[in-house]
């Protein structure tokens, strides 16, 4: 891991650890949701930012992780995260293996659409068949504990989520700097050349797809346990779109960008929805959100993560971004 990444990580840990002692119940709850979106965005970042595969069906894996925990824990007396969490992730991973194996045969825009198609299939299976409880969704009555400890209070669950986020962040940091991760970057930049060197690029991409699906499943698990409720909208294309927006907003090609994007998205949403600031106009919060997204595209082509280098080049009077950022 690079020094800047370690610095970001430790800074984040300290600030986020301190939050429950400073913030209100509401802010802890809000932050938990944001951290879950952060994990979700990180899962997609591995595909889009590192490997160059634009997946428009990420919500399917998220939703499967969420539905898995609710369905399985319904039959248990003392559900425990220690096995429910891996099971949810594995189920999401198995679905990712199936989707990836087929959709990786296509390329570019077609790949975007095939992943969307598979996600829509999952959506309609959950929505229309008795498995998923229909449009109303299902409640999770019995929240899983961890090694028998209850993690049901919002602060405890917040810390658990934070732990998961750090784990995912470090895992992805290690992956992207491993030989495997370098190969994925190579595939993004020039797949033909990678194949010419002798890499079985299909297998590498499939591996990345499955890992990404499993992490999205983890995020789905956390989301279901946090709200104690799942509904088919967790698999809808709106969520797949929103998470894509998060990582583009943050800046592609950086793990930090994915997290910053998720945070910024949640923050913008909260800001434009706040009745204290906008009064009755807060009902139309999508307007502000949409305008700020358009603003970001117009003025920040490399996402929020690119802002420092814009300032840097303004101050130095040069137009070149640093080499590190180009990577």
């Amino acid at each position: 891991m690079k020094k800047s990444q370690l610095f970001f990580l430790s800074f984040l840990t300290i600030v986020l650890m301190a939050l429950p002692f400073l913030g209100s119940e509401y802010s802890v709850d809000w932050m938990t949701k944001t951290l879950i979106y952060g994990i979700f965005a990180l899962s997609l970042e591995l595909l889009v930012g590192t490997t160059g595969l634009v997946c428009f069906g990420q919500a399917a894996f998220f939703g499967i992780g969420a539905y898995a925990v609710v369905k399985i824990s319904a039959d248990l007396i003392t559900p425990d995260a220690i096995y429910l969490l891996p099971i949810s992730m594995i189920l999401a991973g198995v679905f990712a293996l199936f989707v990836g194996a087929l959709s990786l045969r296509t390329k570019g825009v077609y790949f975007i659409m095939v992943t969307l198609a598979f996600a829509q299939m999952a959506y309609y299976v959950i929505h229309d068949t008795p498995i998923g409880g229909g449009t109303d969704g299902i409640y999770l009555y019995n929240k899983p504990s961890l090694f028998g400890w209850s993690i049901s209070s919002s602060v405890e669950f917040y810390l658990f989520t934070l732990g998961c986020l750090l784990f995912v962040f470090i895992l992805l940091g290690l992956i992207t700097h491993s030989r495997f991760g370098r190969a994925l970057t190579g595939i993004r930049i020039n797949e033909l050349r990678m194949r010419a060197i002798g890499y079985q690029t299909y297998n590498y991409k499939l591996m990345a797809f499955v890992i990404s699906g499993m992490i999205a499943g983890l995020a789905g698990y956390l989301f279901a346990v946090k709200d104690g409720f799942v509904n088919p909208e967790l698999l809808s294309w709106h969520l797949s779109g929103a998470v894509l927006i998060m990582i583009i907003l943050g800046g592609l090609g950086h793990l930090r960008g994915a997290f910053i994007g998720a945070f910024a998205f949640a923050l913008l949403e909260e800001f434009f929805r706040s009745e204290a600031i906008f009064g009755s106009f807060a009902k139309y919060w999508h307007l502000g959100l949409g305008l700020s997204i358009i603003f970001c595209v117009a003025f920040l082509p490399r996402g929020l993560f690119g802002i420092p280098s814009i300032w840097q080049s303004k101050l130095m009077g040069t137009k070149n971004a640093s080499v590190e950022d180009q990577e």
Binding site: V48, V54, L102, S103, R105, T106, K107, V109, Y110, M113, V114, L116, A117, F118, Q120, M121, Y123, Y124, V125, H127, D128, T129, W237, G241, L244, I245, I248, L249, L252, Y284, H286, L287, L289, G290, L291, S292, I293, I294, C296, V297, A298, P301
Partner: protein, 294 residues
């Protein structure tokens, strides 16, 4: 399923498929020629429906005109709007990569949807069918078929024919077709690409809005109506092959039939069928049925 039910469902499939074709045709042209993924295309369909809802009483009281006048006025408004939007937003997107386009057009969806909410509110509205089209044709003792649905199909066929003639017989059409195959080449041949783009864009949006206007009396007018259409139209564009009008026509008829008959014969899995069809086609032909230029 007896014959008259079958006939009704077939007519419905054709009508639905043709309506989807109008939206998908603009999408595939904008996609194929300018390389812009326009997520906001469904919003223009919605805008058309709302235009029909807002204009029809005004037109009836001031001009005394009926549906046709409304359609023409709405079409002119949509063309102007498309022209302005291209100039304000989309013209900056041509050089950007696809993800940036997705981001900006997603932002536009949110903005258009909220402006709609501010201006018209969130209620579901109906648009009356004009008297001269409100009768039904008798198919059997109990089955009838509304004339207005035939009118929709007729309008769609006329527009599709018009589009076909413009694309295949005129100089403008020639430039558009050439542009979808090789952008740089026609630019270096001296075609004013900026103007061409603006025309194509305005036309694409106007056709989508017209589809929305024509469909308003049967589908009613409600918030978020553009987004369901958008996803289905992307499916059509991809099945047909990006940039191919012929592919879009065939794919939208397929989708119309699969969706309509799926809902009648297999209601439990109807939602999935369209996507299963798309996945199957793409696994068989990874770049759609008719790739543009081939």
């Amino acid at each position: 399923m007896d014959f008259s039910t079958f006939l009704i469902q077939t007519l419905n499939s054709v009508q639905y498929g043709l309506l989807l074709f109008l939206v998908a045709a603009g999408l595939t042209l904008i996609f194929g020629i300018m390389g812009v993924i326009n997520l906001a295309h469904g919003s223009f369909y919605m805008m058309g429906s709302y235009l029909a809802f807002a204009l029809s009483p005004v037109v009836a009281s001031t001009l005394g005109g009926g549906l046709i006048t409304t359609l023409i006025i709405g079409l002119i408004i949509a063309i102007i709007l498309g022209y302005i939007l291209e100039w304000m937003f989309y013209s900056y997107l041509y050089e950007r990569d696809h993800l940036q386009q997705v981001l900006m057009t997603y932002g536009l969806i949110l903005v258009i949807e909220e402006i709609r909410s501010l201006l018209v509110g969130d209620d579901v509205h109906g648009v009356p069918i004009p008297d001269w089209l409100s009768s039904s044709i008798k198919l059997s003792d109990v089955m009838t078929y509304p004339v207005y649905r035939l009118f929709i199909s007729g309008v769609c066929i006329l527009l599709a024919l018009g589009m076909f003639l413009v694309l295949s017989k005129t100089k403008l059409g020639m430039m558009i077709r050439a542009g979808s195959v090789n952008r740089e080449m026609i630019q270096s041949l001296g075609v004013n690409i900026k103007f061409l783009y603006r025309i194509v864009f305005a036309a694409g949006i106007a056709i989508a809005a017209l589809a929305g206007m024509v469909a308003a009396p049967v589908s009613s007018v409600y918030p978020g109506m553009g987004q369901g259409v958008l996803i289905i139209c992307f499916v059509i564009v991809v099945i047909g092959g990006i940039g191919s009008i012929k592919g879009a026509l065939i794919a939208s008829l397929f989708i119309g039939f699969i969706d309509t008959f799926g809902k009648v014969l297999l209601p439990e899995v109807a939602g999935v069928l369209v996507y299963v069809f798309m996945a199957a086609i793409l696994l068989w032909k990874p770049s759609g049925l008719f790739k543009a230029g081939s």
